[in-house]
Structures are given as structure tokens and as C-alpha cells.
């Protein structure tokens, strides 16, 4: 099912916001819409958006690739995005990331066996002074976690785990 078929009202609303000659500007809201259900933009949705806005798929994909809030692949319940840009690296983000992955027994980009956490390395989250830091994206929205250590992070993960159980 195409995006326009799935969410006719939303798509129309978004498209109406932009003048027809600049309809490519609708790409960002459409991408949010596209990843609402699955948590990521599927290949079909990518194609759909490109067609709707008369731009190439590659154009859409590079926008998805640029922002850390768009995703092109499935992930666990929470995405844990660790900033590894230069200033963060200087404050030990690289080591933090490696240790964290070692503790969880996964590689960067992988999801824990229980499907709860996906660790990602991203570029600049604009909190250089509070590195090592990461943001989580999950059912409860986007949250920044600053001045982190591996222990603190593992605690956080435990908390997320138990929170998930309670909801069940």
C-alpha cells in the first residue's frame, strides 16, 4: 500500500502546505509520516515519496541518511545513538562506545538479543561539552543522556527493561 493510500488525509495536508513548484519541501514531514508505523522508512515508502515529490530516490535517501532522526532500517525498541564526533571523541566517546558494546555483547549498529536496544554511532548531537553522551529514541520520545559512563548506561538499560515489563 502506498503512503498516499495509507494516510490520505495526512499526505494531503502536508502537500497542501507547500506550493506545487516547491513540493519537494514536503519531504521531511512525509518521511516522519512514513516511519511512524515501522519505526523506519521502508524502501517502498522511499520510492513513494520520491515519486510524489518528483525527486529521485537517491535524493530522499540522502536526506534520510543525513538526519539521525530518520532511519532506513529496523531497530530495537530503543535506539541508543552515541555521538562520536571529534569533540566527543576527545572526551572519550570512542572508548565509551566500545566498552558499552563490549558489555552488551553487540557491535555498533546491532540490536541486543531481547530486541530492546540498538546501538548506533552518529555525528554531532550538539552536546559536545557533556560528552560522552547519547540520545535514546523510543516509545517515550527522544531523550538526551549526558556525561555518561558505561555503568550509568547499563543502569539505564536495566531501568528500561523493567519499565517495559511493567507496561506488559
Amino acid at each position: 500500500m502506498s503512503l498516499a493510500q495509507k494516510y490520505p488525509n495526512e499526505v494531503n495536508q502536508i502537500m497542501a502546505k507547500y506550493p506545487p513548484e516547491h513540493k519537494r519541501s514536503a519531504v521531511m514531514p512525509l518521511l516522519y509520516l512514513a516511519q511512524r508505523e515501522e519505526g523506519y522508512v521502508t524502501k517502498d515508502a522511499l520510492k513513494d515519496i520520491a515519486q510524489m515529490l518528483d525527486i529521485t530516490e537517491t535524493d530522499v535517501a540522502s536526506i534520510v541518511g543525513f538526519y539521525s532522526l530518520y532511519h532506513d532500517h529496523k531497530a530495537g525498541k530503543y535506539r541508543m545513538q552515541v555521538c562520536t564526533d571529534l569533540p566527543c571523541a576527545l572526551r572519550g566517546a570512542d572508548k565509551f562506545l566500545a566498552d558499552l558494546c563490549g558489555n552488551l555483547g553487540i557491535q555498533v549498529g546491532e540490536t541486543t538479543a531481547d530486541g530492546l536496544i540498538t546501538i548506533e554511532a552518529v555525528t554531532c548531537l550538539a552536546a559536545c561539552d557533556k560528552a560522552p553522551m547519547f540520545q535514546t529514541q523510543g516509545p517515550d520520545g527522544i531523550k538526551y543522556h549526558e556525561n555518561m559512563t558505561v555503568d550509568k548506561t547499563l543502569e539505564l538499560i536495566e531501568a528500561l527493561k523493567s519499565a517495559g515489563k511493567e507496561v506488559k
Binding site: 529521485t56 530516490e57 537517491t58 535524493d59 555525528t123
Partner: protein, 819 residues
Amino acid sequence: MTKQLTLTIDGVQVTVPEGTLVVDAAKMAGIDIPVFCYHPKMEPAGNCRMCLVEVGRPVIDRATGQAVMENGQPKIQFMPKLETACTNTVSEGMVVLTQTEKVTEGRKGTLEFLLTSHPLDCPICDKGGECPLQNLTVEHGPGKSRFLYDEKQHLAKHVPLGELIWLDRERCIQCARCIRFQDEIVGEAVLGFEARGRMTQIISLSEPGFDSVFSGNTSDICPVGALTTADFRFGARPWELKASASICSQCPVGCNTTFNTRREAKAGGEIVIKRVMPRQNEEVNEIWMCDKGRFAYHYAESAQRLVKPTVRQAKASWTDAFDLVTQTFEASKSDVVVLASGRLSNEDLFNLKSLADGLGGKSILYTDMGGGNLTAQVGVGQGTDLGKLGKGDTILVVASDLYEEAPVWYLRVKQAADRGATLIVANSRHTKLERFARYAIRYANGDEVKTVADLQGDSKIAQEFANAQNAVVFFGSDGLGLNGSANLAAACAKLLQDTKHVGKANNGLIGVWQRANDQGAWEMGFRPEADLASAFKNKIVYIVGADPAGDDPALALALKGARFIVVQDILETLTTHMADVVLPAQAYTEREGTYTSGERRVQRFYAAVPVHGEAKADFAIAGEIGRRLGLNTENGSAMVTFDRLAASVKDFAGLDTNKLAEVKPQWPIVGRGDLYYGGTTYENKQGLGVQLSTAAERGEAVSLPEVRAESALRPREDQLLAVPVTKLYDRGQTVASTELLTQRIGEPTVSLHPETAKRLGVAAGGRVSLAFNGLSAEALVKIDDTISAGVVLVPRSMGLAVREPVSVQVLGLAEAKVS
């Protein structure tokens, strides 16, 4: 006239037009500022930081608006930091320093950063030896890096962007030249950046990958070895290659090219072409070329090459073959019919025409497109340069899909539209150029002539065309056959004549011919013939550079009616199988000659590789036969033939090899030592060619044929009409011999309107059988909702012999599902 500004760069005073970038101004003054991301053909991006220089501007007193003077000189205020020369435009009195310590330090730092993760595998890199990063590192680099070698990023080195272009992610320095080329110049954004920072990489999601016919150019302008062509990959090192100038023979644009050759063990120690590169000619192809021209040169090395004459299909000596041909021609002089195609050079066609005329026989041009007699009268004037068209000018493209037929013209017309020229695209279907058109006219098949005639009315479009400063009309044979295109040409000629857009530069008619030198064939006096079957009947047929039997079974049948068949070609074809005598000809890569482009520019090409077997040049064979028949035809030198041609063909009067070899300085400056500036395009040292003058230009009377209102066959309610369209990658022998293009050539595919497809019960990708002209064939289906419901688009040279619009019966085939 734009305002001229004077500035000082490294103490050299230079005066340039307002709006010039500092890097270009320096170039004009002979100072090379190193660049990676900047390219003179594209908008500046400023993302490599290699061009940092010190920029100072005169201090202006705010109260008086005058420059503040100091010791009799204007006081110069330098910016506290280095500025990019590629994004800053010049201003009056500006002072630029490119050799100071600060600048040198800046360059060192930039290179040190660029090399942090560059793999330095120059020994195996195809760019090694002509690599801007390599050259500039040697010239400006730090020599030693402070970064840790262990922390180099290791990325994929073998990523196919498509089957033609490979990406090495490690080598990429994120200059975005390729992305900008596809976006700005071609208008197909099939490349993009993904991710950010150090993880930035190039992606292509199109289907097929890197879906553009200009993809090879990105490898030329790539300042590192990140983009390489599948064709040349590891083929040779650049310094081992010899360069020979040539002209592309694939379409009427006449792109200037360079063949890079090398002796090769794989080819049994022969000298072979390793790659084809563009050669700068700003009035023809600028510094670009299309992938067909770049990759489809392998036919000259094909195993199908004819290497020895045959008489009645048995190998024979040249003497025997010449004897038999001469005797046969001698015996029935006026019964000789010469059928030649625009694949031949001007010299070949001149000698063939002289031969036919000397015998009193007939000379026929093998083509399905008419109108070439008109381009000689109202064609574009001398000095025409599509690159100069812009605001106030109009370009009409009618019945032609330039992207598929003449890609570099598509590029040039698209860019003219970007500069503000009014582009009118008239076709019966959607073509890629339509996106850039101010007016897109869709006519019903059969209304081509009427559409052009309507442009002389009072409509807004008609007014805009009439009032245009300059107007150029491209006409083609999209959906048309010989008669249809001839009628269309007449209508276009009348439109141009009536609106006074003839006889001057940048005005006139251009034919988008099916072969490279069709225009030249028209100039030499060859004319097409609608009814080839009766032209062959009981005649001595001399077929040169054409494969009628292979193109159309009906013509194969017609050839059976001929008394004697002589075929002269470079490759074995169905036609050579029917021949009484086969004469092996040299490919254009093995000999010299000239072509006349669609813009009527005569350009010379040179031999690049040794001759295959016993093959002789076409003009030499025709010349020899002529001599044996007592005609004074030249059989030795192509350029002597050209001199004779110039002496007897009026439009060529005064031309000689010196004129063809004339060059003038071109912008942007390419070649020289600075490969980083314009890419690896070759500098043109062998001649820019000469454009022929038109009758209208010389003030001669122009006699245009009457425009015939009765038009081509139209689709009827109860029947489908098959119309021919041109595909860039077809199964023509010159293309199909290139294995690399097999995937792009694909299966024969016809386009149907969705309704038609529904009625036939087929979907996109399904199969249909076609019955027309007593033939039947199968093809895949593509759905195109822009064509009319009664029409089936049939690609030319794909094994479906639709040469004229013809009624067709289409049946949907139920296909076993491929699991």
C-alpha cells in the same frame, strides 16, 4: 557588456568581468590556485578548502565613499582568515595572495586532513598518474602526516554504483563533483551523499544503478580514483597510454574524443583502444561525452570483423574481388545502385557518389529520416554555439528524444534552458527533456506537421518563437518514418524562414540524424529512397556500411531480387551473407577522415590503431573501383580525397586540412599540468573543425519544398499503430559488441498505453506478440501513460523491423511465471 573589474593577484594585474570567481581570475592570469571540489563548469561548493588564499579589499571611507589612500596607494584591508578562492567573486581593487606562508600552511593542513583516511593505494589506482590529489600532495602537501596510521578508516573498495561505474569509498574525498554534475549539469540527481561527517559516502539508489547516460563523465572529473569505469578498470596506467584524436561516430553531435591506446598481451600483442575520453570543444561537446560514445567502441575488435575479401562467400584476393566487381559494374553501368549509410566518412561518400555518378547509376542514402536537403539551406549558420544560447533565445525540439538520440545535445539544450532560453519540446509522448521545457506540447501521432505549422499562429508560444533573438529547431524521427520526417523538416524550415531565423549564427535547423554522418551524406548528394525493393530489382547493388537484410526481413527479400550484390562493411552481417562479393572495410579507428555533424561542422578524425587484417578504407576501395573503371577517383589518401571533395562540393569550398586543424584558446582551460581544474578531459590540439555556411547565409535563393498538410498514418479506432522510436543502447552492431552494455540494451521492449495494456491483458514486464508487415515478433511490455491509446512505441534496431509507422496486431502472451 558586463562591468570589467581590475584586481591584483600575486602582483599580477588582471581585468575580468564582474562576477568572476577569484580562482578563475587567477587562472586567466596564469596563476593556478589548487582546487578539488571546484569545477569551472559547475557552481562552486566550497567544501574541500584547498583553494584558501589571502584576500584583501580596499578600505572605503564610509563618509566619502572613496578608497582610503595610504602612501599614495589605496589602503588594503586583509581578512583575518584565509578565504576560499572558489566561492568569492572578484571586486574592484581586490588584492589576492596565493603564495604567502599563511596560504602554504593552509594548503598543507587541508591536505593532511584529506589524507587522514585516504588509502594511499596509488600503485593500483586507475587515477594514479593523472590524479589531482596525488599531484597536489606532491606540490603542496606536508610530506608527513601527524595522524596515526592505525586509525585510518577502512571502507568498502569495491562498490558498484551501477554496472558501468565502480566506487571506492576509501578514496572519496567528498568533493561532490559527481553529485553536482548529475544534479546541475545533467539534471538527473541519481547520486547523493548519505550520512554526515566522516561517515559521508556516495550512494545511488536508481534502478538500474547510476541510471544516467553521462555516468562516465563523473570518473573524468573525480579528483581522486573513487569513481572508475568498469571498462577501463585496471586496464593500464595513464602514462602508458598513447592518445589519438578522434570524433565519436555514434550520433550526429560529433563529440570530439581521444582514443587512449596501448599494446596489449590479452589482444595477442596488438595495439588496442583502452579507453575513450572526451576532448574539449566548447562549441560541440564542451568537455563531456555520453556513455555510448565512451563504451561502445569494442565493435572494431569484434570477432565478427571482416578481414579478407570474399567472392561468392569464398575467401579471395583483393585483385580477384576488384576484378569481378569492376567487370560487373563495367558490364551494366547505369544499373549500379550504391546504397551507403551515414556511418561512412565524407571522403567515403564522396568517392562512392563519384563512382555512382561516373557510371550513371543511382546513389541512395540508407536512412529512415528525411530533410537533409533543407539543413544545407536553412541549417544553423556559421559560428553556432548552443552554449551561447540563453535568455531571449528559443529552442524548439520536435519529434526527437534528444536524451536517447543525441545525449550531448540534450545536455547542451538543457543548459541553455537553465540559462533562460525558452525551450519548447513537442512530441507525442513524454521525453526526459520535457522537464526543462517552458512549453511542452504533446501532439497526437500524425499531427507533427500541424503542430509546427501552429507555431506560426498568434499563440503565446508562437509569439515567443517569432520574437526570439535566436531560434534553433531540432527535428527528429521520433515516431516518424522517412516521409513523415521529411514533411516535418519542411514545416520546420518554413517556420524558421518565415520568422527570419535563418542565415545567421545560432539560428536555423538541426537534424537529429540516425547516424553520425547522415548530414555529410546529404551534402555529398546521397538521397534516401522510400521504395528500396523496387530500387534493388534486377540491379547491381553496392551496399556500403549498412545492413538492410539484418534490419528488416522485407529488405532481405528485396535484395534477393537484385542481380549482383557487393557488400562493403566492417562486420559480418546478414547482408554480407547474401553478397556475391564482400569487401572488408576499415573501422574509423583504423584510418583518418572527416565527418559532418548535425550542426554541419566538418571535423577530422585520425587513425588510432593498426588495420585489422586486409581491410581497406571505404574511400580507398571505392576509389580503386573507380580508377579501374577509368574514373579519376583517389584511392590512396583520405586527405587528398578531402581536397578533391572541397574543390567540387560547393558548401565545402575553401576547406582544407589546415582549416580543420585550427584551434583557439578555450575556456575553461583544461589539459596542461593542472588536471585538478577541468578533469581529465583532453585539451584540443588537433582542430575544432569548421562549420559549413548555409545557402541562406550566403544570400542565395532558398527554395523550400511545399509543406504537405497530409500527414503520417494515424492510429485508427480498431487498430494499433506501431511507431518507431530511437533507443540509445540498441542492438545495432556498433553497440551490441560491447558486452558491458548488454544489461542496458536489454530485451526488445515496446511501450503501451495503460488502457491498451489492460485491454490486451498484459502488465509491465509481460510479453506480447506483434504482427506487422507480414512479420511477427515478441517483445516485453513497458507501460507509458503519456502515449496515445492507439499507439505502440517500437524501438529501432532492436530486432523489430518497424521503419515507418505501420498498423500492428498485438496479442498479450500468457507467460509462465518465472519462480
